[in-house]
């Protein structure tokens, strides 16, 4: 007997097969489960799933493992014998003897590992976002870069596990510390030192070859507080200057409703002045776009217009005029979209990983303004016509 076929409503078919009802699930979750689940989320939340690369601190999904394996022999031998990493706790200094630096800067210096490259061609070109247990330095010889990051010691195991997915790990010794090296590519390597005190250090360089990497790696030397602070580039905003500097940067800029500069003003950080200016500008611009979204949703057309005009005035903001950072040109793109009433929430670009997986990165407007809440989303492939 032939069966009569009908036009099926697929949404109804799917809805009827919904595996779980939220109402039923909510009724099933008791208070102890809820408390435990929240505690678990908070515990996980304090551990980054992946170290966030510089310049991408807000990425929701930083690059995952490259899936590259290689069979290096254990050839990473210790070259230096180092007495200590000279962490703050081991120094025991109070800053006395360094009258040229304010106490806040000395406290940051003492709390951080103070290693510098001894090769005179290599200078610090970027010193950003130092916290007592986290920070980054970028060295350059004018041609290549060498990065040094440090993170809370409590995260060492998490990072070690994560790096084990990059490539086979080689264990060795550096500066008297146990060191683990992985290969991102034949031109790029990273080395993690075992925790000392409150932090552990990760070094990373794309210097063209393993031997070039090791040469620079082995030129690291511990220095005292004065030498370390003195090596910071002139554009560094020191801790004691940060809050007034943020206030100064905000002058002459219309602030969105509810804007709170407190996070920007964290006094325990050392920042690059230019990146701090961009961060300040982004915080304001992101706040205005959020304000525009809220105004549109509530039908507040004057509010939406105020938001557009505020960002549209960015070329005249003092920090934009002062830094002349090309980053700020992104604002004009977003302003055009706001004026057209169509904010681009799609991917701003595509990233093809070494294993062939393709990720869309977005939403476009947040990347354009450096806002938080961006995503990497795996897609089937690059769109037709290329990214």
């Amino acid at each position: 007997m032939s069966r009569k076929r009908q036009k099926v409503d697929p949404l109804a078919a799917m809805a009827a097969s919904n595996p779980v009802s939220v109402v039923a699930l909510a009724a099933e979750i008791g208070e102890p489960e809820m408390v435990a689940a929240q505690a678990r989320a908070l515990e996980l939340g304090r551990i980054p799933s992946q170290p966030i690369p510089p310049g991408d601190r807000f990425a929701v999904e930083p690059a995952r493992s490259r899936g590259v394996t290689f069979g290096l022999t254990f050839g990473f031998a210790a070259v230096f014998v180092f007495t200590a990493l000279l962490l703050g706790s081991s120094l025991g200094g109070s800053g006395a003897g360094h009258p040229e630096f304010a106490a806040a800067a000395i406290r940051v210096a003492e709390a951080n590992p103070r290693l510098l490259l001894t090769d005179p061609d290599w200078k610090i070109v970027r010193a950003d976002e130092f916290e007592p247990d986290e920070g980054e330095l970028v060295f350059s010889n004018g041609e290549n870069h060498f990065d040094m990051h440090w993170y809370p010691a409590s995260l060492y195991g998490v990072y070690l596990h994560d790096r084990a997915e990059v490539s086979t790990s080689e264990r060795g010794e550096l500066l008297g510390q146990s060191a683990t090296t992985v290969e991102y590519s034949p031109e790029e390597y990273a080395t993690m030192l075992a925790p000392q005190g409150n932090v552990f250090i990760e070094l990373r360089g794309r210097l063209g070859s393993r031997s070039a990497y090791e040469e620079i790696l082995h030129s690291l030397q511990p220095v005292d507080v004065g030498t370390w602070l003195g090596a910071m580039p002139a554009a560094t905003v020191r801790p004691q200057d940060r809050s007034p500097e943020v206030d100064r940067m905000l002058r002459g800029i219309p602030l969105p409703p509810g804007f709170d500069p407190a996070v920007l003003q964290s006094e325990s950080s050392i920042s690059d002045r230019s990146s701090l200016a961009v961060k300040v500008g982004n915080a304001v611009a992101c706040g205005w776009v959020s304000s525009w979204i809220a105004a549109r949703r509530s039908g507040d057309e004057p509010g939406a217009e105020r938001a557009i005009e505020a960002i549209a005035g960015a070329p005249d903001w003092p920090i934009v005029l002062e830094t002349k950072s090309p980053w700020f040109s992104n604002y004009a793109t977003v302003v055009r979209q706001l004026r057209a009433g169509r904010l681009d929430r799609g991917p701003a670009g595509y990233e093809v990983r070494e294993d062939g997986r393709t990720f869309g990165v977005g939403p476009a407007w947040k990347l354009a303004l450096g806002c938080g809440g961006t995503w990497h989303r795996e897609v089937d492939g690059l769109p037709e016509g290329g990214p």
């Binding site: 809820m34 689940a37 806040a104 407190a262």
Partner: protein, 189 residues
Amino acid sequence: MPPTDDQTRGRTGLDHRFEICFRDNYAAVLAFTVRRLPDRATAEDAASETFAVAWRRREFIPEEPLPWLYGIALRVVANQRRSGRRRRRLGDRLEGEAGLWAPAPEPVDALHRRDAFGRLSEDEREVLRLVAWDGLDTREGASVLGCSTAAFRVRLHRARRKLAKHLEATGHSPDESPKRAPDPTEEAL
């Protein structure tokens, strides 16, 4: 350096905001992950990871957090599936198979639907899940996928048409067809 009073107040406010977000939305997020992952334990892990990300970014929790949380959860689920595939390196199950319909009690014609559903691309399946299972409208679904509402509507229309075609090809019986579900695209189309 200890935080200033203003910083402390700001932090406390953010923590409170997160707690409200968690309590209001945990069940929905857990349901979201249960619908997409093969077992409850994995789904609970994914829900925890979703809120872990939300906690890290609690200053960005929007007024209507659920689509935002779903957007995070979608990525977490994708990671869980990839991890699952790595664990099942020698496994013989198809990618994501268990997460398509299980562990729900299946209606009479579920096998037909599973087969039809499995013939769609993952993107198409996700659009349908967001609407039919998670109850999102096109605007919310678009925000989860990070596309425009118009693009989402087009994707939904195509996915729906393809699924209907596959269901018809499997000889779906009129008697087994449930009542028509609300269609979030109807107002706009």
